[in-house]
């Protein structure tokens, strides 16, 4: 290590040595400690090293943004934060019912901590209360953030099973709160017939559809409750949207160790398929049994395939064969690297309200379930409610939740990549408790190191592609 103090993650490509400077929040160059000494290169290396060590002393002098407000986790400090940065989205769970029975769904039997499917539906009266509460907060705290725009999302189960209430909600919002709301829906697409699709387009919905790739792969993972295949129905409905040249539609793609990534990439390259906006491995939360069925060999084969796919994609970029087209590989390989390079709040200290992980402050978003309970977001299990629409956000409870969550930051202070952390409550929760970071993040640094070593190999060859991408 060249450095005297600070927290750094060292990694290298074949050609160069780098550090992630976790204090500043940026990647910095170093020089290889060992070089192959050809004749006459010794002197070059010594000079290069000498000046690099000098530079590191200069780098130590880098100023940081003074920490102006470093509040303790109290009800007042949380309120102040939420009034300023919160209320970014209201998501309504229109129903806990679904016409699909996907084995990887977090509401299936494979996940112990989350609710199961039920026949519960949200009434319009509950939805209206949630909507009125959300808009009252936006109005009341406009002074804290005049630029906040309301976003209302609809989630399920399958939200289109409760289309009548969805429609009423949108009509109610438009008639009572004007036309500046952004609407979003996450759907399995099976009920999004021509009429529904046209209505979503008319109301400028951001449409997210779960589609797991080509027919065989999609049908493997996504089936109706009676076991029938879903691909053809979903594709037909997607075509209603794309044939209208509507662009605000994206795909949520989920894969497991049986997925053929190359075949899926070919599928998503087709012109009539919307952009892949989310691509993630089936949830492997601590309470999950989904992956129990996969043997180690299967896992290793998948890792091999994943690396092969990445090399193929990155090589294509270097050869200039790739444009930003929203394909699966772009989402799987380019976006994480883009985020590593751009996401960190460089030179700023983390807020003392959430010094580690990428967790939000509960209340930034609000997920209202069918019964009117408010939760952190749609991904968090039902054991951590943060209020109810009749009583509003419970800031005492939010405060206790944050304090409880932070008790598990046992590894974070020493973590070399804490400023790159993308974990949140979801990864740490098992039923009503949080698991210690040391357990969840055991291999995080090593895994990232490995990934960065590969990613930087490509960055060294082609910079322009990553600098021109825009995944915001």
């Amino acid at each position: 290590m060249w450095f005297k103090e600070g927290i750094f993650l060292e990694f290298n490509t074949k050609d160069n040595l780098y550090y992630w400077d976790n204090d500043v929040g940026i990647f910095i160059p170093s020089i290889q400690k060992k070089t192959i000494y050809k004749k006459g290169t010794n002197r070059f290396y010594e000079k290069q090293r000498f000046y690099h060590v000098n530079w590191l002393e200069k780098w130590d002098k880098i100023p940081k943004v003074p920490h102006k407000n470093s509040p303790d986790v109290t009800v007042d400090s949380i309120k102040e934060f939420i009034f300023r940065f919160g209320f970014t989205q209201l998501t309504l769970e229109l129903t806990q019912d679904c016409n699909f029975r996907c084995p990887y769904c977090i509401f299936s039997d494979n996940y112990e901590s989350t609710r199961n499917h039920s026949k519960s539906y949200m009434s319009f009266s509950t939805a209206k209360k949630a909507i009125d509460y959300y808009y009252s907060l936006i109005k009341k705290y406009k002074g804290y953030n005049p630029l906040r725009k309301p976003v209302v999302g609809f989630f399920g189960g399958e939200p289109l099973l409760n289309f009548a209430v969805l429609k009423k909600c949108v009509e109610y919002i438009k008639s009572h709160y004007g036309n500046e709301t952004l609407f979003a829906i996450t759907t399995n697409g099976s009920l999004m017939n021509k009429e529904v699709g046209e209505w979503l387009i008319k109301n400028d919905f951001k449409i997210l559809i779960s589609l797991n790739g080509h027919e065989k792969e999609h049908n493997r993972l996504r089936r109706y409750g009676d076991g029938k295949k879903t691909f053809k129905d979903v594709m037909e409905n997607i075509n209603h949207i794309t044939s209208a040249d509507y662009e605000d539609i994206g795909i949520v793609f989920v894969y497991d160790y049986d997925t053929d990534l190359f075949a899926c990439e070919e599928f998503f390259k087709q012109k009539n398929i919307p952009r892949v906006e989310v691509a993630s491995l089936v949830s492997n939360a601590p309470d999950s049994h989904y992956f129990d069925k996969f043997k180690e060999k299967k896992f290793l084969n998948f890792i091999e395939q994943f690396e092969k796919a990445k090399n193929y994609y990155m090589d294509s970029i270097i050869k200039g064969n790739v444009k930003s087209e929203g394909t699966l590989f772009e989402r799987l390989f380019a976006v994480p690297l883009y985020n590593d390079l751009n996401k960190c709040n460089t030179l700023y200290h983390s807020s003392s309200l959430m010094p580690f992980t990428n967790a939000c402050i509960p209340g930034q978003k609000m997920f209202v379930d069918v019964n009117g309970q408010i939760h952190i977001c749609e991904r968090v299990n039902q054991h951590f409610p943060i209020g109810a629409i009749d009583d509003g956000l419970d800031f005492e409870r939010i405060c206790a939740l944050i304090q409880d969550y932070q008790l598990n930051f046992d590894k974070c202070k020493e973590c070399q990549i804490s400023k790159l952390c993308d974990k949140c409550y979801v990864q740490f929760m098992v039923e009503k408790k949080f698991v210690k970071a040391s357990k969840i993040c055991e291999e995080a640094e090593e895994l990232l190191k490995k990934r960065l070593s590969i990613d930087f190999k490509f960055l060294e060859k082609d910079i322009a592609f990553f600098e021109t991408l825009n995944f915001q």
Binding site: N16, Q32, G143, N342, T346, Q472
Partner: protein, 372 residues
């Protein structure tokens, strides 16, 4: 072999040559055409095999290093580059001018009522040929409450002559004091009295508008003086001097500072990176006039954004953000001539004065450096 600048060193290219900025050591290096050409290639990760002397010099200065193989060098930034201006986050309001009255019994030639003649008119006093109804104290209270909630960083309280109704001025000072990080009060030298200074003690920093050096002021006060080299020499015991250059004739601009290559300030990391996106002065700044008009700058009277008489400040910000952004985001890349210049991110610029002199919002007159 490859040579790359370190993350904190920025190579900025002008239309003809480039300059290099070390944002940790706050140093700028103007480069000649040949040096610029070499550095452009290096920063494009092109292989180098000649002109090593120049690059070795940069290596010795701690600005960059040689690499056997192509490296990837990330440039230093402040904050996250994923947070765009349309992120829905609260606006960053660094500086607000509260022009609390429009009355004064003096008739100074440099006053705004006679046109924009000064480089720092914003932090001096001015009256305007405007006779609208002034805001009542209760409305000011509401505006100030809004500024506190918005976490405004600096507030400048100015007039006119704000000593004419000192009780009201102090009410405003008391409202902002302790709630806003930096509070400045601007008073003309002729109205300065000891009891006023005592009233402001620990509540606000005083900026005194001076046009007569012979009357001394207290050494702990910031003084905004009109340009006269002799005066500056005599004023060497005043803590902070802010020099306000004034144009004394309509036909020539010889008394206004025309920026040249040697006049630019050393680069400050935060300002430099801010200036790549925002105007160095207008960025994150607003003015609330005596009659409630909201302007981008106290001297840009023709660019009304809204009025706090008609709406809350939050509503104006929310409804007129696109218009506000046009001023905040007027970085020097967008200003004629400046866009071609390699020193654009360390240069000052008074848009009010330039607009007055050229008749164009993006015009530029006060610069004698020729980047072409």
């Amino acid at each position: 072999m490859y040579f790359r600048l370190y993350p904190e060193c920025y190579y900025i290219e002008g239309v003809k040559r480039g300059a290099l900025f070390d944002l940790i050591e706050s140093k700028s290096y103007g480069l000649n055409k040949k040096e610029s050409e070499i550095l452009r290639k290096c920063e494009n990760n092109e292989k180098i095999d000649e002109n090593m002397e120049f690059l070795e010099e940069l290596q010795k200065l701690g600005l960059g290093n040689f690499y056997n193989k192509k490296p990837y060098i990330q440039k230093l930034r402040v904050g996250s580059s994923l947070i765009g201006t349309n992120s829905g986050l609260p606006p960053k309001l660094n500086r607000v001018f509260l022009e609390i009255n429009n009355n004064c019994n003096l008739s100074c030639d440099f006053c705004g009522i006679n046109g924009v003649k000064r480089t720092k008119g914003c932090i001096g006093c001015n009256v305007w040929n405007e006779d609208s109804e002034p805001l009542k104290i209760d409305r000011w209270k509401k505006v100030i409450k809004e500024l506190i909630v918005l976490r405004c960083n600096d507030v400048f309280i100015k007039g006119g002559d704000i000593t004419l109704n000192w009780d009201e001025t102090m009410k405003i000072v008391n409202m902002v004091s302790g709630n806003i990080s930096n509070v400045y009060v601007i008073i003309h030298q002729k109205f300065l009295k000891e009891n006023l200074i005592n009233d402001l003690n620990n509540k606000a920093k005083l900026i005194v508008q001076i046009d007569n050096i012979r009357e001394r002021i207290d050494g702990s006060i910031s003084a905004l003086i009109l340009r006269d080299d002799q005066w500056i020499k005599e004023f060497n015991d005043v803590k902070d001097l802010i020099v306000d250059y004034v144009n004394v004739t309509e036909s020539t601009f010889v008394f206004l500072p025309s920026v040249g290559r040697t006049d630019v300030s050393p680069p400050n990391l935060f300002n430099f990176l801010n200036n790549m996106t925002f105007h160095p002065c207008l960025g994150h700044s607003l003015t609330i006039c005596f009659d409630g008009k909201v302007l981008p700058c106290p001297m840009m009277r023709n660019h009304k954004i809204g009025s706090v008489k008609e709406a809350d400040l939050a509503d104006i910000i929310s409804d007129k953000m696109e218009r506000i952004k046009k001023f905040w985001g007027l970085n020097l890349d967008k200003i004629e001539k400046c866009g071609k210049c390699e020193f654009k991110y360390i240069c000052d610029d008074c848009r009010a004065l330039e607009e007055y002199l050229t008749g164009k919002l993006k015009g530029k007159l006060l610069c004698h450096y020729n980047p072409s």
